[in-house]
């Protein structure tokens, strides 16, 4: 599997061809449309990250040491960014996710979408993804010990 940071760099490179913001958004909309909707059983309040303007749903499983993410948003551009996050983090070990910085969002000019005052739920989602990674890592370590 491609290196974590290599993927991030690939995404940045991919976006660098777009000179116009609307082209970037068009691409994100495409990505958003291509991302399968989340399993309806996870599109519930339990898995909702409320961003006050747009909603994000997130669920994660650990299968054979790798995280499987399932996520969605009601806003399509947000969903496009969600798709990029999933592309990057899906099927990674908790360690990979926790060790590496997230730089691609900044690199493609979408940093403001992750600012604490942005009300689109993305920042909360990224935090939650890392929390899942931490929780599963802690559980694995426990399992090893016992």
């Amino acid at each position: 599997m491609t290196d974590y940071n290599e993927i991030q760099q690939d995404i940045v490179d991919e976006f660098s061809v777009f000179e116009d913001w609307l082209d970037r958004y068009n691409y994100l909309i495409e990505l958003g449309n291509d991302l399968p909707a989340i399993d309806p059983k996870y599109r519930t309040n339990e898995y909702l990250i409320n961003g006050c303007q747009s909603k994000v749903w997130l669920h994660a499983d650990l299968v054979e040491g790798k995280l499987l993410f399932n996520a969605d948003s009601d806003a399509i551009i947000v969903k496009g960014i969600v798709a990029l996050l999933i592309k990057l983090m899906n099927k990674r070990t908790p360690a990979e996710i926790l060790e590496n910085d997230l730089f691609f969002i900044d690199g493609i000019g979408l940093r403001q979408n992750l600012s604490p005052t942005r009300s689109n739920g993305l920042l909360a989602m990224v935090k939650k993804m890392r929390l899942y990674a931490m929780a599963y890592q802690a559980r694995e370590n426990q399992n090893k010990e016992s």
Partner: protein, 408 residues
Amino acid sequence: MKMGLNIKQIRSDFPILHQQVYKKPLIYLDNGATTQKPKVVIDTVRELQETLNSSIHRGVHYLSEQMTSRYEAARETVRAFLNAASTNEIIFTSGATGSINAVAFSFGEKYVTAGDEIVISEMEHHSNIVPWQMLCDRKGASIKVIPFNDNGELILEKLDDLLTDRTRIVALTHASNSMGTINPVKEVIKKAHAKGIPVLIDGAQMVQHGEVDVRELDCDFYIFSSHKIFGPTGSGVLYGKESILEELPPYQGGGDMVDQVTFEGTSYNTLPFKFEAGTTNYTGAIGLAAALDYLHSIGFEAIGRYEQELTGYTMEKLGGIDGLKIYGKAANRISVFSFLMQNIHPYDAGMILDKMGIAVRTGTHCTQPVMDHFGIDGTIRASLVFYNTVEEVDALIEGIQRTIQMLA
């Protein structure tokens, strides 16, 4: 279209309007959130800070003297703007929210007890809901709500039943910040007064669109924010009838609002100072007066006529877009428009319009009950004032059409 304002001249008075965002000319249609400041306001604030800054009242020295008279002249300017009977009725506050909280507290402490009722409307801004809820929680009182119909117009027939002998006050917005409706406040005030109930009018979205005459309305309180009427942030106005303000306990305690202070007890200053605790935002208040003077120089009537034409044009153009639904279709309205396109998420639309240089607001606009009424999460809102143009409306329409192409 021939409209009676020299828009080019007017736009040149507002430095911020000549900016580019994302290399596109800025089209600022978020005036419902805050309005831009003409040069004369910016210059006044600068001049005050460079030449006069000094704490007002009580000072014996020159700067304090000068600043005090500028501040009190600003109070007179606001009085004249609202046609209040006396400057004792004009309180400078930190903003519309500060003004409403002051009334909810002071009036509530004096007159509201368990079992009492406060009447508001279904289209209030959160700033005219939450302070009353907090008061009701404290006192064991309750909120009654005047509903609106699907055009966004108050259902006035319901009012008579809502005004009971437990109703202590009616708090109603003059114009809706999310639907644009101008409410028949005079009629409401008449009905309430017939039962001896005082009325607070939230003018936060009205004053920037035309002159208000509090004596003609006969409202008991009228409030607005400086920053929404081309003045500085951090300042606002609370008008209250003198006879009522006299009876109310103060809201905040501090310097300047007292007469004598001992640990045994404190007596309060006269109006309007009783309600202006601490160092007030004198720069903001004087800046607000500069904004009002500027509006006078252009003429409220001309502004009103221009905005009505712009409103008609915008409604027509928006109405012509396939699949676009307007929320709030009252005929008597300000130039504020809420809408949704098909099943496009407003946040997506807002982000795309932004990148075209068009600043609109998306979400609930702090009127969640309005969204609940329509069963939606939010809208896109374009809010215009007199410095906006037909060309900007055209750009918005084109932007919406492109957005639909991208998203639908």
